[in-house]
């Protein structure tokens, strides 16, 4: 009997995309339920009462929220195509870097993306410093975990397409192949994995969406 797996997501959420990738990499069949964030379904509110956000995974009638928590659940439940290494120390390193993506890189990139003028100018150096840390970590490695794609790569995956989307919108180039050879190579390696490649949201649609988000933030900031 196939155990039902459902994923509540939006077409563009980078957090939800992590779950799509993990499920695809492990060859797990699932049903997608697309949510309209401006009009959240009663089911979403029931399954994620604390945060009321996507993604939410439903398995065996139970709901799991928070993308990194869901990734760990998937890893604990389905043993094929492991996303984590064997050794506790290497697992800890994967956890450390997955956390770094969300706690350090994402806020820094958002800060550059959602500002303009002097504020944006000041936001750029810290973001580049963080990219340099990641560049250092990736030196000599194909993926964060080594030779195969893993949890940390999936956590950072948003960077592989969103960085270019945000660069296109702002006209700002935070990284290039000369200054960030390892990071650039990682982006190519990651994007080339079939499960990833076949599940990118459409580029133009992302550009339109994030352009609108930036304009909304800048307008809100201007009225303060």
């Amino acid at each position: 009997m196939v155990e039902e797996v459902k994923l509540f997501r939006t077409w563009s959420s980078p957090y939800a995309l992590r779950i799509v990738w993990a499920l695809k990499l492990k060859g797990i069949e699932y049903e997608t339920i697309f949510e309209d964030i401006s009009n959240k379904s009663p089911l979403l509110l029931r399954y994620n009462p604390v945060h009321k956000k996507v993604p939410v995974l439903l398995h065996r009638g139970k709901s799991i929220s928070e993308s990194l928590v869901i990734l760990e659940y998937i890893e604990d439940t389905w043993k094929q195509a492991p996303l984590l290494p064997e050794s506790p120390y290497e697992i800890a390193r994967a956890h450390f870097w997955a956390k770094f993506s969300d706690s350090k890189l994402m806020p820094a990139i958002w800060h550059v993306f959602l500002t303009q003028g002097k504020q944006q100018e000041e936001a750029i150096p810290p973001a580049i410093e963080i990219l340099k840390i990641i560049e250092e970590e990736l030196k000599g490695k194909k993926y964060f975990g080594g030779q195969t794609i893993g949890l940390a790569d999936i956590a950072f995956g948003w960077m592989a397409n969103l960085l270019y989307v945000l660069e296109e919108i702002t006209g700002l180039k935070l990284m290039n192949t000369q200054n960030f050879p390892s990071l650039s190579a990682w982006i190519n390696n990651f994007s080339d994995v079939p499960a990833i490649k076949e599940n990118w949201p459409p580029h133009e649609k992302l550009v339109t969406k994030f352009q609108a988000i930036r304009e909304k933030y800048l307008a809100a900031g201007a009225t303060k």
Partner: protein, 220 residues
Amino acid sequence: MEEVKLLGTWSSPFSYRVLWALELKGIPYQYTEEDLYNKSPFLVKCNPVHKKIPVLVHGGKPICESMVILEYLDGPWPHNPLLPSDPYERAVARFWAKFADDKGTVIWTMFRSTGEEQKEAVKGSLEMLRTIEDLALGDKKFFGGERIGMVDLAFGALAHWLGVFEEIVGIRLLEPESFPRLHKWTKNFKEEPAIKENLPDKDKMLSNFRCLREKLLASP
């Protein structure tokens, strides 16, 4: 057996999360008190990315970030596990541990601010406590069930640091009548020998954090 070292500070709840875990598992360790205003070369070498405590060094290998360390410990020392074995229960535990980290900062904001900012932080703190009271604890003795687990350690600051902050800013958040389960949990938590025997001195904390608050409010 490989050597275990803990780099921490006496007043950090994050440092204590790891200390309590080591005590609960009966793991021998060597503790080094770090001076965060004058970080040791060893700390910087072990945690070049963040330069923060706590850091656990096991057999010469450093592990950073308190919750990453807690997850790590069940690997080499599976007895008295901090996480349950069932995948769903593990997900629930990780969810609340993340909640503690993501939302817990609002209490720090309440502590280091005044006026409107503090008012907002108080509101946020009460909402956070309400969520934990209503959704996280249930009728269990601990978040982990009958035994202390990772989530209890993650929320440890509520059991000891919150009271100190409340006293300093003169705002009471964790009223027993409003949060009976959480209040009972703080008592149960602090009664466990591994916790009871490893809490920073309350008067020292009051003095230290009072000083810190003044400093934070004075700086631009």
